[in-house]
């Protein structure tokens, strides 16, 4: 290998490194400079990095690679518009408009503050409530996280063409209905932030406990969700954003302990706590404290607080169940749902004994909303098992088994059924 090839290789590595750290920031700014045109901005981003690969080995790496890339991308886009204007005269105006905007404001807000605003604009636009919920998830993973269509399709067990179609349709709506590339006004912020947090939460959940399929966890998606959570906390340190990040970190801290080497499910009280990630727990608990001190916390922070009580217990037996029941009471007032009631019933069973929990679960199931929810039946089965009512426990496990969709959970329920049969 010659010295020249060595140098070229080094520059290529540098370009790759810049791509990893800067490409989403550059894209977010290009979308703004190109009047919210996602497709034009993506093309411009691609062209800018292609130009960097050509020019940087010859001219050296610029002092501010991000600014260089934004500026290169912008002019590539104007060129592309001009070329297209030869076939569609209407685009000449667009090219002119972009050109004049470029010449009147040469280095528009390329400091960190301006770029952060662009990243927030991108997040809020991808998670706009006028877009279909699954399109918000796909668009966020594609544009904000930079995942490929194939990667997203694999994670959500969808075909790449279906997923690509979903993204195309969402971009079409952004353009046609004119969804603005904006951070929402203060009045709209709480509702719009909720929509963003919900997207992040769904991505995390899909990674943490896949809704169907063979493997229980899909670490990559959880990792992306945590990255998104960090980005939000960095850009917009609202209590619920911190609460969601804390919740994700505290759940994620148990990843290694949740499954055996052969992929079998291990319940919380049977997990080897030495396998928990104590750095994630410390970070999560610190965020929970910050959030609770703000006194503006909501459902995410409360769920994180519950996860923190579990995380701080040295053994399952030492868990402060009274505090957990108290937190569920507050959560039920903030965000009433039958699933929260079910979790509260399980905590009551730990505090006051399985009979007390069973009364609550039976009342809940009698209302019908959770009749098809496998975890309601498996929770009931578990309480019956602890009460020594084996025949009823077997029936309840069988109900749960008929409803479960996930392989490791199915195997777990089958194991419990076998144990009861041989007992």
């Amino acid at each position: 290998m010659t010295a020249g090839e060595d140098a070229a290789g080094a520059v290529r590595e540098k370009v790759d490194a810049v791509y990893r750290t800067e490409s989403r920031r550059v894209l977010a700014t290009l979308i703004r400079l190109l009047d919210g045109d996602f497709d034009l901005a993506e093309e411009a981003l691609h062209d800018a990095f292609a130009a960097a690969l050509q020019r940087w080995p010859r001219d050296g790496i610029p002092a501010n690679p991000r600014a260089w890339l934004v500026s290169a991308g912008r002019f590539k886009a104007i060129d592309a518009m001009r070329r297209r204007a030869r076939f569609d005269a209407r685009l000449a105006d667009v090219a002119e408009h972009l050109q004049s905007a470029a010449s009147t404001s040469s280095d528009v807000d390329l400091d960190d503050g301006g770029v952060d605003d662009d990243r927030l604009r991108l997040v809020f636009t991808c998670c706009h409530p006028a877009l279909a919920p699954d399109a918000r998830i796909a668009l966020t993973l594609r544009e904000v996280c930079g995942l490929t269509t194939e990667e997203i399709a694999r994670a959500f067990l969808t075909s790449p063409p279906t997923l690509a179609q979903r993204i195309v349709r969402a971009k079409g709506k952004i353009r046609t209905a004119r969804i603005p590339y904006q951070v929402p006004s203060r009045a709209d912020l709480p509702e719009r932030l909720d929509a963003v947090l919900h997207v992040v939460y769904l991505v995390f959940n899909e990674g943490y406990s896949a809704s169907s399929g063979e493997t229980l966890t899909r670490a990559d998606l959880s990792g992306e969700a945590i990255r998104l959570g960090r980005l939000l906390v960095e850009l917009l340190p609202e209590p619920e954003a911190m609460g969601l990040l804390a919740l994700m970190l505290l759940h994620e801290s148990r990843r290694l302990a949740r499954t055996t080497a052969s992929g079998e499910l291990v319940l919380l009280d049977e997990q080897d706590r030495a396998l928990w990630d104590h750095d994630q727990i410390a970070e999560g608990c610190a965020l929970v404290e910050r959030t609770l001190r703000s006194r503006r916390f909501g459902p995410y922070a409360l769920q994180a607080a519950i996860a923190a009580v579990h995380a701080e217990a040295p053994t399952a037996g030492a868990t402060d169940w009274a505090q957990i029941v108290g937190l569920y009471d507050v959560l039920l007032r903030a965000d009433p749902s039958p699933i929260v009631e079910l979790n509260r019933a399980a905590a009551v069973a730990m505090r006051d004994g399985p009979a007390a929990g069973l009364t609550l679960v039976d009342a809940l199931l009698a209302r019908g909303e959770l009749a098809d929810y496998h975890l309601a039946h498996s929770a009931r089965a578990d309480l019956l098992r602890r009460l020594g009512r084996s025949a009823e426990a077997r029936d309840a496990y069988a109900r749960a088994l008929a409803l479960v969709r996930q392989e490791p959970e199915r195997r777990f329920l089958e194991r419990r059924l076998r144990e009861l049969a041989s007992a």
Binding site: H128, A130, R178, P180
Partner: protein, 122 residues
């Protein structure tokens, strides 16, 4: 950019409203319309007679077919519309959310095609 706000509501519920309540509701509509005239959003707006007065026309097999009403068994019927001028979708949604029927029924917000912005067909 223009958006059409289609107002859907339960006609029967509207018709059964006590007179005083109905008048108060209309009052809200007058105030809303005046408000969007002053903010410059208003382009046009009308209320429609009930679906029982509607007639649907189709041409099938070369002949005109005329039928009574639309037959959709929906709970909510198209009861009126506003055509508004708005900066973007957020602005349009802000206006639409203040239409009195947003509380009782629903408002469909549709961007209007601007033919001067369409590529020529040639």
């Amino acid at each position: 950019m223009k958006y059409l706000c289609l107002i859907y509501d339960d006609e029967k519920k509207m018709a059964d409203m006590p007179r005083s309540e109905g008048e108060a509701f209309m009052g809200e509509y007058f105030a809303f319309t005046e408000g969007i005239r002053q903010s410059g959003h208003y382009v046009a707006g009308e209320a429609l007679q009930p679906v029982s007065s509607a007639t649907t026309v189709r041409i099938r097999n070369g002949g005109v077919s005329t039928t009574d009403g639309p037959f959709a068994e929906t709970k909510e019927q198209l009861g009126g519309f506003y055509l508004i001028e708005a900066r973007d979708l957020n602005d349009a949604l802000q206006v639409a959310s203040r239409i009195p029927s947003a509380r009782t029924g629903s408002i469909e917000v549709r961007p209007v095609v601007d033919f001067s912005q369409q590529p020529s067909a040639s």
